[in-house]
């Protein structure tokens, strides 16, 4: 049968097999050619098709066995080793199979959920800006999703986590429009560095939302405090009496402080913020801990100066009343201050609010003043009661201060070391991934170009190709081990399992992760580390033959 009269299927089979032979591995190409020739002898189209399918299978088997044989050779070798399996000079000891296994194992470790989380946390810690671009993108994506799905909670989280006030304010308003019960976030998306400011419209919404909460009035007073006193700070600062004079003359500030003192509740919304952070982080673990840190830091805190100045003004007012013989009004004024400081101070301290500690100072001052007032007006028995209260307050503050210092130290010190190991492991991964890639790819390029590199560079290259992937795997394992305590603590924060790390403890954990990052310590330090490591490696490679010769002698 001539070829033009052959059915299409037969011609297609012959043509396909001839094409296949061209790309067939060299070792069995002759056999492939034999099989392709036989196709021309087949007359039945279906038998020809069966012959072709068998040929494809044969091709796949040949490619697989060729690949396996190639993998068993050292990196950079294309032909089998010489007699006795001797390794030619300029090639590493380990086969491609060993090298690939080590690299795949390292990659697998980094692809584990713990590995991915560690990498996300490290990438964020290496960012120079306030927030890593990837973290910002993740929040923007969350906000877009939340708007699409009309999910107020997610949008609220995006608002409190995003570092730019424009978008953050807009998202906060959209979230509140979807769910008015989220109005508290107006107090939790404010801090953008030292000069944060809550818009008046948000403060008004907060006061309407929570009219019995002292905290919202403190925030309202704080807005005035900042607008009046921060310009003075820029001009070199102001004395305490100047501050008190400025604030005493501001009836609006005084009005908000009086409202705060009379309010029956004190809630700084930290708990609500923490619940939101836990919930969203549980739902989406791909957020870096830095995003959570940003949302913790965005909590608005009224400046402690508000409370100190208000305390001073009320004590001053009480003294004036006393001089005018209006002791009852003086007592009322001091009692109001002491009660406010006790109520808000205790709650604030429980909510881990710095103002809680300041309010204790204010309370102590007002009680001492009250004792003086009682003594001067002959109410000695009441003065004694107040003195006992002051003594107890001083004692409990001293006890708390010393235990606070110990807790802080015991919390932070182990994590600082672990943070350092995390950063060192990450750096080792980066370094050894880069040098392994360079040496392996240069060996393979030489193999393709059939060029030969000799001398010291060749020895260094072989050494790195042999041991680089092994060190890379060890560095990946070390990263997982070093990051484990952080991972556990973050998981505990997310799940809310007791003891839940507080927001303050979360910030300490993140500080431990960040303090040894290259961006924090400065690039010079890390360049020194890299130079030292590479020098040590070069010395080892250079002097190893000498040591071997001595040992043999």
């Amino acid at each position: 049968m001539t070829s033009d009269r052959k059915p299409l299927l037969l011609r297609a089979t012959e043509w396909s097999l001839r094409r296949l032979v061209r790309v067939w591995p060299l070792e069995t190409r002759e056999w492939a050619a034999a099989m392709a020739t036989e196709a021309g002898e087949i007359e039945n189209p279906w038998a020809a098709l069966r012959w072709l399918l068998g040929g494809v299978l044969f091709f796949l088997r040949s490619v697989a066995s060729h690949f396996l044989a190639w993998m068993r050779l050292p990196v950079g070798a294309n032909s089998p080793l010489g007699a006795g399996g001797n390794r030619p000079a300029g090639l590493p000891r380990h086969s491609r199979l060993v090298t690939a296994t080590l690299l795949l194992a390292a990659m697998a470790l980094l692809l584990l959920p713990q590995g991915r989380e560690a990498l996300i946390a490290i990438r964020s810690s290496w960012s120079n800006s306030e927030m890593a671009a990837s973290d910002k993108r993740a929040i923007e994506d969350l906000a877009a999703r939340a708007i699409r799905e009309r999910d107020a909670r997610k949008l609220a989280f995006a608002a409190v986590s995003y570092p730019e006030p424009g978008k953050s304010n807009a998202w906060a308003e959209q979230a509140v429009a979807m769910d008015p019960a989220l109005r508290w976030i107006y107090a939790s998306h404010a801090t953008r560095g030292m000069r944060w400011e809550i818009p008046e419209s948000h403060l008004q919404a907060l006061r309407e939302f929570d009219p019995h909460n002292a905290f919202v009035y403190l925030l309202s007073a704080d807005r005035i405090y900042r607008s009046k006193l921060f310009p003075l700070h820029d001009q070199g600062g102001a004395t305490k009496s100047q501050i008190n004079q400025i604030l005493a003359g501001d009836s609006e500030w005084l009005g908000w402080m009086d409202e705060a003192a009379r309010a029956t509740r004190y809630e700084n919304y930290v708990e609500k913020g923490q619940q939101l952070q836990q919930q969203i982080w549980r739902e989406d673990r791909s957020f870096s801990p830095d995003v959570i840190a940003q949302s913790i830091q965005s909590q608005a805190w009224p400046d402690a100066g508000n409370l100190l100045a208000y305390g001073d003004l009320l004590i001053q007012r009480a003294r004036e009343f006393h001089l005018e013989g209006r002791d009852a009004e003086a007592e009322r004024s001091l009692q109001l201050l002491a009660d406010f400081a006790e109520r808000a101070g205790t709650i604030g301290r429980n909510q881990r609010d710095l103002n809680g500690w300041i309010l204790e100072t204010v309370r102590q001052k007002s009680l001492i003043e009250l004792g003086t007032l009682y003594r001067s007006s002959g109410k000695t028995d009441r003065a004694v009661v107040v003195d006992v209260e002051v003594a107890n307050l001083k004692k409990s503050r001293m006890e708390r201060n010393s235990s606070h210092g110990q807790t802080f130290d015991s919390l932070i010190s182990p994590f600082l070391w672990k943070g350092l190991f995390v950063q060192l492991s990450a750096l080792a991964i980066l370094l050894f991934a880069a040098i392994s890639f360079l040496s392996l790819s240069s060996l393979e390029i030489d193999a393709v170009l059939q060029s030969k590199t000799v001398g010291m560079w060749s020895r260094i290259r072989c050494f790195v190709a042999d041991y680089g992937p092994l060190v890379l795997l060890a560095a990946c394992a070390s990263l997982l081990l070093a990051y484990r305590p952080f991972e556990q603590a973050f998981a505990q924060f997310r799940s809310g399992a007791t003891p839940v790390p507080t927001q303050g403890q979360m910030m300490l954990l993140l500080y431990s992760l960040h303090f040894a990052s290259p961006t924090n310590l400065g690039s010079a330090f890390w360049w020194w580390m890299i130079t030292l490591s590479l020098s040590a490696l070069a010395m080892f490679i250079l002097f190893r033959p000498l040591w071997k010769r001595r040992a043999a002698a």
């Binding site: 002759e30 036989e38 021309g40 068998g54 494809v56 299978l57």
Partner: protein
């Protein structure tokens, strides 16, 4: 470690076909038709037999015009001896008889 050949059903079928006329050179397609083996199974076995030194191969010397030369195969002296032993042992087994009857179908 040298190449080893597993005495699979397919190998025994091929040896049987090659022993039908041991001095005669066979083509791949003819062997495939005689054994029912697909090209993807047949050629890897032929390669192994050749590597073990039990199979001789050559290309056709004279070919009709317009047709490329075909590859030819036959067992070597050692190969024939080994094949007869293997087939003799296999014929005793139920496994082989079953394989032959399946191939005949």
């Amino acid at each position: 470690m040298g190449i080893r050949l597993r005495n699979s059903r397919q190998t025994l079928l091929l040896l049987d076909a090659l022993l039908v006329s041991p001095s005669h050179w066979c083509h791949g397609y003819a062997l495939s038709q005689a054994t029912g083996l697909a090209s993807g199974t047949l050629y890897p076995i032929l390669i192994r037999l050749e590597k073990l030194g039990w199979l001789e191969t050559r290309w056709e010397q004279e070919t009709p015009a317009g047709r490329p030369p075909r590859h030819l195969y036959r067992l070597t002296g050692n190969g024939r001896e080994w094949a007869r032993e293997e087939l003799g042992a296999a014929r005793e087994s139920k496994f082989y008889r079953q394989a032959i009857s399946e191939a005949a179908k």
